[in-house]
Amino acid sequence: MTAPKVRFTFWKAVFLVIMAAGVYATWVRFRHGLGASTNLSDQFPWGLWIGFDVMCGVMLAAGGFTLTAAVEILNIKRWHSILRPTILTAFLGYVLVCAALMYDLGLPWNIWHPLAMRNPHSVMFEVAWCVMLYTTVLALEFSPIVLERLGWKWALRAVRRLMIVFVILGVILSTLHQSSLGTLYMIMPNKLHAFWYSPLLPVFFYISSMAVGLAMIIFESSMSSKYFHRELELPILRDIGRVLYIVLVIYAMLKFEDFYHRGVLAQIFQSSYEQRFFLLEIFLSVILPLVLLSFRKIRNSAHGLYLAAVICLLGFVTNRLNVTITGVENAVGGRYSPKWTEVVITAMFVALGFAIFAVAAHHFPIFPEGKAHKPTLRKRANVRALIPEMLHAEN
């Protein structure tokens, strides 16, 4: 979002303010420890940094495996042009998740320990390995873009030849750890509220990660078209919107079946603290996007797709926060809300994600040839125009 050109824009100012606050919060975190920098407690060992930075971070980066599977394995050629920005988004997502984890770990310099100390019965052990390997795979999937730039033909040929191996590995690793983030909670049958604790929790995490991956593709393409003044790949986004619709329908049906078989359906209509958060989640993640995408006019328009995708993203972010925070609050007897330092650090990583994407898109051939971006054409980002357009999309 920040143009590398030295020009003062609104978003650059926002970015600098967030970064300054983030640097200060970083100092508080590492100088004074987790107690001084977070609202975490013995009751709430996990808060915003696990709930958003890790849980949502990994989920929001799921577009990488979803799209590589579609393009490279299912051989859907017409989606090829959006592959690179999607892989970049995913790679950035995982790097930022790893960086954010350094803040949350009590002893971050021991982060390499799962490499040397094994406990195969631990879901966290499996997630640690998968995330580490998949970040490597994403780096390899992204490497042709760097190698092209460097002109290392030999290495480029080797990577291209092995690409299908990386892609298959990436899909397997993603399937494992996207679902395992749900499996983390399987050991808490007496802690997590019945709205979220289910034997199908890993399946829900996996399917929702695909939905989020697709929604992120729409979100990222829309943003890129806006801020890099690129032609929007509308036909592709329409396809993606249709697939998103199908994934959401499958998710909704499974969710209903699960609630029915566990006898939780009635609780949806009983007023409770959890019920309000659950309704918010389910409206945003499933119901509203499905309703929006049911209208041909919306699902065929750029703004309509953008709106549905953003609502869907917000919904599944709510879902992950509900699992990590809302769902355990009553069991541990208390309420958690993040401290300002926690919010600032999280905001810093989100801002870094946008900024690094913008810089990378400027320096590497991320977008397809022919429609190659011309830095000279870059104009000042007009954010305020976005909001009324989003509202119009509904009509």
Binding site: G33, G35, L107, H113, M117, I168, N190
Partner: protein
Amino acid sequence: MSFGILYDASMCIGCKQCEQACASENGLPYDNAIGDQNYTSAYKYTTVLTKADKFMRRLCMNCEDPACASVCPVGALKKTALGPVTYDKHKCMGCRYCMAACPFSVPKYEWGKAIPGVRKCIMCASRVASGKPTACAEICPTGATKFGDREELLKEARKRVQDNPGTYLHHIYGEMEVGGTSVLLLSSLDFQQFGYREDLTERALPMYTYQVLSRIPDFVPIFGVLLGGVYWITHRREDVAEAEAQEKHAEEKGGVQ
């Protein structure tokens, strides 16, 4: 042989000597103010709760199949053969999954420290290893906290419940909870009143995750072959179509000639 602790609330007089002995054994400060704290923390591993004239201890249950040890990605928490569940700070990376997973919310964190660790009762692992009882059991003046072989303690607990049906609830807390715990509790007052959950499953919690994790070794090769197969089919189809088009093209050319 696996050791355990039997705490019998009906014999407890609430003198809190166990708290004090625990503190000095673990090198923790102890004074009247800390004695008044009715919760455990990174600086107090056990506490004696009071409800009217009834008492109840809280301490790590040292589960037979502990959730904390099962979830620890680096194996910092371990169930030893002698009974105690121990912790190794040198291995720990501070993910705090043990705290999230523990059904009794036992592990506590040193939130105030820049180099923090997990803290909990480890059933005096080094004392037990050298054949001594836990500090709390040794000091207990009434025998309310008793140390010994878990099986023997369980038999004794059953006998006490059977012989004095009026004194105790018909429930030995820790016999079945989450697959059994090394610490066993007897009480006349509902355990729930002291924060012990009565709705815990009798299944060992690690089994919940193991039933998912154990499928991975099968899943990886099968899914890999499946993806490879789909890749082969989708690309083969393309090759065939291309070859056919070329053939047709050649035929048409041939037909004209």
